[in-house]
C-alpha cells in the first residue's frame, strides 16, 4: 500500500494512462484511424483524381451539416445504448433492429390513430414507441431467463418477426398507408417532435433527450445497486449467483431497458419534423431490416459499451455518413460511398479487439511490475 502513497504529477499521469477508459479511448482512435486509411484506399481505387478532395469531404463534410449530423446520430445513439447496456450484463442484444422497428411502429400508430392536443401528442407517441421496444426486448429476455434460450438466436428471429409484422400491419391500415406511393402518410404535426431551429435540418429535441438518457444510463450503471448487480453479472455470473443476486429478474429487466432504448430510437427517427413544411418522415414497408439497429452494434463497440463513449461514437459515425453523402458531389457513386463508410465503421468495430490488443501491449510491462509487487507484498506479509 505504502509504495503508492506519494502523489506526484507523474503518478497521476500514470494512473490516467493506466485507466481502463484511457486504453478504450486510444483503441477507438486507433480503430478510426485505420478505418479512415482503408476508406481512403477504396476511394483512391475508385477514382484516383478525385480521391483527395472527396476524402476531404468525407472527413469535414459533416461540419457543414452539423444539424443533420445530430439528427442522424440520434437513432444510432439509442440503438448503440440498446446494445451497449445489454452487453454490460454479458448479453448480446443483436435484436436492436426489431426493437427499433417495433418502437417506430408503436410511435406512428399513436401518431395516426390517437387524437391528442399538440404538446402532449408527441410525448405520448415517444412513450408508445418506448413501450413497443420494451415489448420486443422483454420476449427474448423471458426466453433467456426462464428457458435459457440464447438471446442472440431469439433476438435475430425477433428482428424478422418484428419487421414482417410491422410491414403487414402498416400495409393493412388505410389511415397510415398510401399504397400508390408504397409509404406511410404524413404524420399529423402534433405528433412530430419539436425542432431545434437549425435551418435545413430535421434536428429536434430528441437529440437532447437521447443525451440525457445516456447520462441517466451512466448513472444507473455506476451509482445504483441495479447497475452494480448488472455489471457483476456481466463480469462473473457465478459470483453474482453466489452473492444471491436475482439473475432471472436482472436478465429480463436489462433486456426490457435495452429494448426501450432501441424503441425510442425508432420513435425519434420517425417522429422527427421534416424540413419541408406540411410533410413528415415516412416509412416504406419494403421488408428490409432496419440498418440503424445493426449500426448500433458498431456504435456500441466503438464506444466501448459505455453510455458516454456511445454518445461520441454515434456522433462520429453520423458525421462520417454525412460527409460520405456529400462526397457524391465529386462523382463518387453512392455505392462506393457506402463501401467507404462501411469500411470505416467495420474497422471502428474492431475497437474492442484493438482495445484488448492495446491493453495487452500496455499491460505487458505493467503485469511484470504487478507480479513483482505481488511478490513484494508476500515478502512483506511474511516479514
Amino acid at each position: 500500500m505504502d509504495n503508492n502513497k506519494i502523489p506526484s504529477s507523474k503518478t497521476k499521469l500514470k494512473s490516467l494512462v493506466n485507466s481502463k477508459g484511457f486504453s478504450a479511448f486510444t483503441a477507438a482512435l486507433l480503430a478510426i484511424f485505420l478505418g479512415l486509411i482503408f476508406g481512403f484506399i477504396v476511394m483512391l481505387a475508385a477514382s484516383p483524381s478525385n480521391s483527395v478532395a472527396g476524402f476531404g469531404t468525407v472527413l469535414t463534410g459533416g461540419l457543414k451539416r452539423i444539424g443533420d449530423v445530430f439528427y442522424f446520430a440520434t437513432p444510432i445513439l439509442m440503438t448503440g445504448l440498446a446494445v451497449g447496456f445489454a452487453f454490460k450484463m454479458g448479453l448480446f442484444n443483436i435484436g436492436a433492429s426489431g426493437q427499433y422497428t417495433m418502437g417506430m411502429f408503436f410511435a406512428i400508430y399513436a401518431g395516426f390513430m390517437w387524437k391528442l392536443p399538440p404538446g402532449i401528442h408527441w410525448i405520448v407517441c415517444v412513450i408508445a414507441g418506448m413501450t413497443g421496444g420494451m415489448l420486443w426486448g422483454f420476449i427474448p429476455g423471458i426466453f433467456k431467463a426462464l428457458l435459457n434460450v440464447n438471446e442472440v438466436i431469439t433476438s435475430i428471429m425477433f428482428n424478422y418477426i418484428g419487421m414482417y409484422l410491422v410491414d403487414m400491419l402498416i400495409q393493412r391500415n388505410a389511415t397510415m398507408y398510401i399504397s400508390s406511393k408504397t409509404r406511410t402518410q404524413y404524420l399529423p404535426a402534433s405528433a412530430q417532435l419539436p425542432g431545434l431551429g437549425i435551418p435545413h435540418s430535421s434536428v429536434n429535441i430528441s437529440f437532447i433527450i437521447a443525451i440525457c438518457i445516456a447520462a441517466i444510463l451512466f448513472i444507473v450503471l455506476n451509482k445504483t445497486t441495479f447497475g452494480y448487480e448488472l455489471k457483476a453479472t456481466g463480469y462473473n455470473k457465478y459470483a453474482a449467483t453466489y452473492a444471491g443476486m436475482n439473475g432471472k429478474r436482472n436478465i429480463i429487466l436489462t433486456m426490457v431497458i435495452a429494448g426501450a432504448m432501441a424503441g425510442l430510437g425508432g420513435a425519434f427517427n420517425i417522429l422527427a419534423p421534416s424540413t419541408i413544411s406540411g410533410s413528415s418522415m415516412t416509412y416504406e414497408p419494403i421488408n428490409v431490416i432496419a440498418a440503424n439497429g445493426f449500426n448500433g452494434i458498431a456504435v456500441a463497440l466503438l464506444g466501448n459499451n459505455s453510455p458516454i463513449g456511445i454518445i461520441f461514437s454515434a456522433l462520429f459515425i453520423s458525421h462520417i455518413q454525412r460527409g460520405g453523402t456529400l462526397a457524391s458531389l465529386f462523382g463518387y457513386k453512392p455505392e462506393i460511398i457506402d463501401v467507404v463508410i462501411a469500411v470505416i465503421i467495420y474497422f471502428s468495430a474492431f475497437a474492442m479487439l484493438m482495445n484488448q490488443g492495446v491493453v495487452k501491449f500496455l499491460k505487458k510491462r505493467r503485469n511484470r511490475n504487478a507480479e513483482v509487487n505481488k511478490i513484494k507484498q508476500n515478502l512483506k506479509g511474511e516479514a
Binding site: 500500500m1 503508492n4 451509482k223 445497486t225 455489471k231 457465478y238 459470483a239 511490475n369 504487478a370 507480479e371
Partner: protein, 514 residues
C-alpha cells in the same frame, strides 16, 4: 562418472525490482530423492521453470553430468530426460490411460497407430515399478491416485531419468501417499534422480535423502535429512518457529444451529446421486469438519446447503428455520456465510475493485444503499475498516482491482467479508487452498475466533493436518455418504485415512447411535 547428474549453479533470476532466485545452487545426485522445500513465493516454481527452459537466467549455469548445457525451452528439457508430474495433472479426461501415456510420442507405422506395441511397453513398465493401472480405463473414471500413476508412467514411457514431482501428495489419501513413497524409493534404487517439491515436512523426513530449503528467493542451504529435524527445517523455511498445533480452547457446543436431514443431491456428471442421504447437526461454538478425498460429494453437498444447487431430497434447517427451498439471498439473511471453494469463480468479481467486492453480500442493505442508489462513502469506509482489521494487502487499497491482488490477500478479503457479515453459521470450503504457511495460520486463527464468538462453523477440507488441528468434530465423507464420525481429540490420521479411502465404513445407524 560424475556424482551429480544435474547441477544448477548460482542461479539468479531477477524480475524488475525483485530477485526471484538469488544465487541459488541446487545439486541433484544420481539416484537420490532430493526435496525442495519453501513457502509460496519462495522461488521454487521459478527455479523449476529455469530447469524446464521456461525462463532464462541472468547469472548461473546448469550442468548435466558435469557439462554446461543450455535449456531454451521445455522440449530441450524433455530431450535431456527431465520429466515432471505437475500438481494439476495434464491428462485428456476422455482418453484411456494408454492413449494419455503415448500422447505426443505415439508409435506409428506409416501414420497408423501401433497401440499394441505401446500397450506392451506400458504394461511391462507398470509391472516393473508396481504402478498398477488398467491401460484401457478412461481417465475421468479412475481415481486421482490412479491418474497420478498415469502421469508417472508418462515420464517412464519417455524414458526420463530426472523426475520432478510438484506437490504430489496434496490429492492423495494417507495410504496412497505411502504407496507413492514406496514407488519413489524404487525409482531411486533404479538410479533415477528425483526432485520432490513440497511443503509437508513429514514426507520429507520419510522419503528424502537431502533437502534444499528456499526462503524469499535465497537458498538457505542443503541438508542431509538424517542429520536434521522437522523443527530445524521449518525454521529454515519460514525464518521463525511455527506453531504446528493451532492453539485453541476446549469447545463449548451450544444449541443446534444447522440441522441437515437425509440430504440427497444429484450429480451433474453421472447418473448416481453425488450426495446420498446425509444427516448431521452443527452446534453453536463448534467447528465440524467435513473431511474426505476430493470428489466424494463435498462440493455438491455445499452447493445444496448454500442454495447454488437444488436438493433432490432432504431438509435443511438453520436456526430452527427451514431453508430447504429458500433462495441464496434469504439463506444469507437467515445467517449463512459462505467462503466458497473457488474464490475466482464464486467468491470474487475479479474485475471489481476491492471495496466493491467487500460489499458483494451486503450492497443491498440500508447501510450501503438508499432507494437503489449506492452509498459510495459508506462502502469506502466499511472497506477501509475491513482492510485494516483483517490486514488485507493490496496495491491501492480500496480501489485496487481484485484481479491484481495476490491469492492470499484475495482469500483474506473473502474471509473478512464473510466473517464480518452478520451470521450464525460459517461454511468454509477449503479456505486455505493454495496459500502459504503464514496465511494458513492466520485463517485457522480466524476460524477458531469465529467459533469462540459462538458461531457454528462447518469446515470442508481435504488437508488431513488441517482437519486434525482445527476441528472439534470430524465427519468423513465417502462416495456421497457420511462414512464415520470422530472426535478430533481422540482419533488418528490413520483411522481417518481408512474411512476416507472406503476401507472402513459405518452405516448411518451406527453413526447416529454414536
Amino acid at each position: 562418472m560424475e556424482e551429480y547428474i544435474i547441477e544448477m549453479l548460482n542461479i539468479t533470476k531477477e524480475f524488475p525490482g525483485i530477485m526471484a532466485n538469488d544465487d541459488i545452487t541446487l545439486r541433484l545426485k544420481k539416484g537420490e530423492i532430493h526435496a525442495l522445500l519453501g513457502e509460496n513465493g519462495a522461488g521454487k516454481s521459478t527455479l523449476m521453470s529455469v530447469l524446464f527452459g521456461l525462463y532464462q537466467t541472468e547469472k548461473g549455469e546448469i550442468r548435466m553430468n558435469g557439462k554446461a548445457v543450455k535449456i531454451n525451452n521445455p522440449n530441450d528439457a524433455n530431450a535431456m530426460g527431465i520429466g515432471m508430474v505437475h500438481q494439476h495433472f495434464k491428462l485428456v479426461e476422455i482418453f484411456t490411460v494408454l492413449e494419455n501415456i503415448i500422447l505426443g510420442v505415439e508409435p506409428n507405422k506409416m501414420g497408423f497407430l501401433q497401440k499394441k506395441k505401446a500397450g506392451e511397453k506400458v504394461l511391462s513398465l507398470s509391472k516393473k515399478y508396481g504402478l498398477k493401472v488398467d491401460p484401457d480405463a478412461i481417465i475421468e473414471k479412475i481415481s486421482v491416485g490412479m491418474q497420478q500413476r498415469v502421469e508417472i508412467l508418462k515420464m517412464l514411457y519417455r524414458e526420463n531419468d530426472i523426475l520432478i514431482f510438484d506437490e504430489p501428495t496434496a490429492v492423495l489419501t494417507p495410504h496412497e501417499i505411502e504407496e507413492l513413497m514406496e514407488i519413489m524409493r524404487g525409482f531411486a534404487k533404479e538410479g533415477k534422480s528425483i526432485l520432490f517439491i513440497t511443503h509437508k515436512l513429514n514426507e520429507i523426513m520419510a522419503v528424502a535423502d537431502r533437502c534444499t530449503v528456499l526462503c524469499k528467493g535465497k537458498c538457505k542451504g542443503t541438508v542431509e535429512i538424517k542429520n536434521t529435524t522437522k523443527e530445524e527445517l521449518s525454521r529454515m523455511m519460514v525464518g521463525r518457529d511455527v506453531a504446528f498445533k493451532v492453539e485453541k480452547k476446549e469447545s463449548v457446543p451450544g444449541e443446534v444451529i444447522l440441522s441437515v436431514r437425509n440430504v440427497t443431491v444429484a450429480s451433474k456428471t453421472h447418473s448416481n446421486n453425488a450426495v446420498r442421504n446425509v444427516s448431521f447437526d452443527v452446534r453453536a461454538g463448534e467447528i465440524v469438519c467435513l473431511a474426505g478425498i476430493d470428489g466424494n460429494g463435498q462440493t455438491e453437498f455445499v452447493s445444496g446447503l448454500t442454495g447454488l444447487e437444488r436438493l433432490s431430497a432432504g431438509n435443511i434447517t438453520l436456526c430452527g428455520k427451514n431453508i430447504t427451498r429458500q433462495s441464496i439471498r434469504s439463506r444469507s439473511k437467515a445467517g449463512l456465510s459462505h467462503i466458497p471453494e473457488d474464490r475466482h469463480k464464486h467468491g470474487l468479481v475479479l474485475d471489481y475493485t476491492l471495496e466493491e467486492n467487500m460489499v458483494l453480500q451486503r450492497y443491498w442493505e440500508p447501510e450501503f444503499q438508499k432507494s437503489g442508489f449506492i452509498k459510495g462513502p459508506a462502502i469506502r469506509k466499511y472497506s477501509e475498516m475491513l482492510i485494516e482489521q483483517y490486514d488485507v494487502r493490496s496495491g491501492q487499497g480500496s480501489v485496487t482491482v481484485v484481479r491484481s491482488m495476490s491469492g492470499g490477500n484475495q482469500q483474506k478479503a473473502v474471509i473478512a467479508r464473510e466473517i464480518d457479515k452478520e451470521h450464525k453459521l460459517l461454511v468454509a470450503v477449503q479456505p486455505t487452498r493454495g496459500l502459504d504457511v503464514g496465511a494458513i495460520e492466520y485463517i485457522h486463527k480466524q476460524l477458531i475466533a469465529t467459533r469462540d464468538a459462538g458461531k457454528a462453523v462447518l469446515l470442508v477440507s481435504l488437508e488431513l493436518e488441517e482437519v486434525m488441528n482445527v476441528s472439534d468434530r470430524i465427519l468423513v465423507m465417502y462416495e456421497g455418504e457420511i462414512a464415520g464420525e470422530f472426535d478430533a481429540k481422540t482419533t488418528t490420521v490413520q483411522e481417518l485415512g481408512l474411512y476416507m479411502s472406503g476401507a472402513k465404513r459405518n452405516t448411518a445407524k451406527e453413526i447416529q447411535n454414536g
